[in-house]
Amino acid sequence: MLHHRKLAIAVMTTACLPVATALAQSDETITLGAAVSLTGKYTTNGEHTQRGYDLAVSKINEAGGVKVGDKTYKLEVKYYDDESTPARGAELAERLIQQDGVQFMLGPYSSGITKAVAPVTEKHKIPMVEANGASRSLFTNGWQYIFATLSTSEQYLTGALTLAAENADKLGKKPEEMTVALAFENDPFSQDVRAGVLDDMEKLGMKVVIDDQLPRELNDMAATLTKTKALKPDLLIVSGHSKGAATAVRQINEMKVNVPILAMTHCDSADVIGKFGEGAEYTLCATQWSPTLSYSDDLFGSAGDFATLFEETYGYAPPYQAAESAAAVQVFADAFTRAGELDPQKVRDALSQTDMMTFYGQIKFDETGKNIAKPMALYQVLNGEYKVVSPSNFAETSAVVPRPSM
């Protein structure tokens, strides 16, 4: 509503100005630059990212564009394909800024490529709002021009530990008596998730009994799972992108590993429900966002409305990568309006003051640029559907703990 009122004021102000300038203004655009993965191993998620950006851009333009000072601008995005490689991403960022004269960047897909692009945007003092680099190593370098809409990786599975602690009595234990098995892939993202989990476990007083790091190329977890069977931990946590999730669910079923609580990342991108059906039941899955969460804003409406629009436009339900990407464009639009001019430095300062509610969740950056306002959500697979079980105030239903042995 507020947005519309602002728009009405904008229209009235422009109407008061000389007609000639008013006519010229409507055609002006702000170009955002983005190198996303359209080929290579991140193709699927690169497309989700691009579609998220595109949907937000077209929605904002439909709503009349972005008001900056007393002018109104349309948004457009200039894309390049980074071929899923960090080096190419950095090269293209350089090209966007130097040759194409782009002054505002949207992030690429994946932490690795974001990490390669960020030094370039820093060097040129070009603000970048990214939506798909969750590694916490992105926010420990003192970088000033990077802002992330998503929750960082060390927060991914903390919900699972809280949930476990809350349900400790169902297992006849106290939280500090619980034992945990960790199986994390040996890559920066998963290791960040692990670091966050270890921090939280320390706070809750839980004990690690297995701490295996899965090699990147491994598609067999039999050794780790055999150990899990022998040591019987209360909680098994797995993170290794979609490959890890698929391997874990498959082998946990094959080997009948009975753990009371099983939590992992990337269940949705691995499509564990579609692949394993009942085998995926009761798995807890970390997610940045879900269409069933009760967040909303003026542009898209509720999270559910965004999902409907996305599905109508692209023919499939939006994964969270698309949602956080769309939110990144909203953040930029909001910062342009608050900055009142298109000077990159001013926009950067406006970005750092962001505090807005979106369909994707609250967005507010700390001094390192990461979003500290939105918690991670946790799904549980129940009757072949993902149901949000955490955070408890936005949850659809309460979690089933322990998993009934299958």
């Binding site: 090699p215 491994l218 394993f276």
Partner: protein
Amino acid sequence: MLDNLEILVQAPVITVDLVLNGLLVGAIFALAAYGMALVWGVMNIINIAQGEFVMLGGYVAIVMVGYGLHPLLAVPAAAILLFCLGWVLYYSVIFRVVDRDLFISILATFGISIVLQQLMNTVFGGDVQIADAKLGTVFLFDGFVSLAQVKLLAFSLAAILGAILIVFLKRSRLGQAIRATAQNARAARVLGIDTNRVYAATYGLNAALCGACGALVAMAYTIHPYIGLPYTVRSFMIVVVAGLGNIGGVIFAGLSLGAAENIAGFVFGAQYQLAFVFLLLVAVLVWRNWRLARKREYLK
């Protein structure tokens, strides 16, 4: 680490589980390694695209499951399709590098591997896929030893295919031609063997073996476009350890590698699983070198 050893001592049944599961993985590796040994031995080419053929075989299974067919049918289907692909690749690329420097053939097959990866990524996307054979698991010793039936099946198929290969090479006309070419390509040519065709058949046969292996991988593990490398590396290792032209050795090396890897993963943690395997490779090579050195002394 010591705790883990203690578990193994206290509950030997877990060791049995690890060894058996390791043997089952090993059989799949051995299958891909047969092919590599064949191509290496006959054509003197180290096929870097080995793992990609495995991956392609996996996608054949996934496509067939998509059409509602049983993934087991994919084993022969993948073998036939990949044989054709191998044949085509030979006549388009490999024949140019067959008598050349080893380095050139490594580059050529590396190129093929990249093309295949990207092609599959474009067609199927980068996500993991599986072909569910809907087979259960056999549990022994109170559920402590679990053997997925699909892995048992993969093991037996690997054994059968290995046996067929041995008989084929010994008895069939083409098999004999392949062996003759391996021993001395020039002499084989003089005696009227069309070595070009023999090479094409060998390369096709290798691709077929990998294809069958890939269909099994899709049923027992997971497939994505970048899954190839571990299979190439492991086949390479198995062949290096077993030696060329020694199919029995390849089977033995494959199986023991699988078992050793699994036990190392349990004791040292998954992060050291591959490191252990490479350490084992170094140890075997050093030991071999030492044995050869002794032989050389003897000859002096």
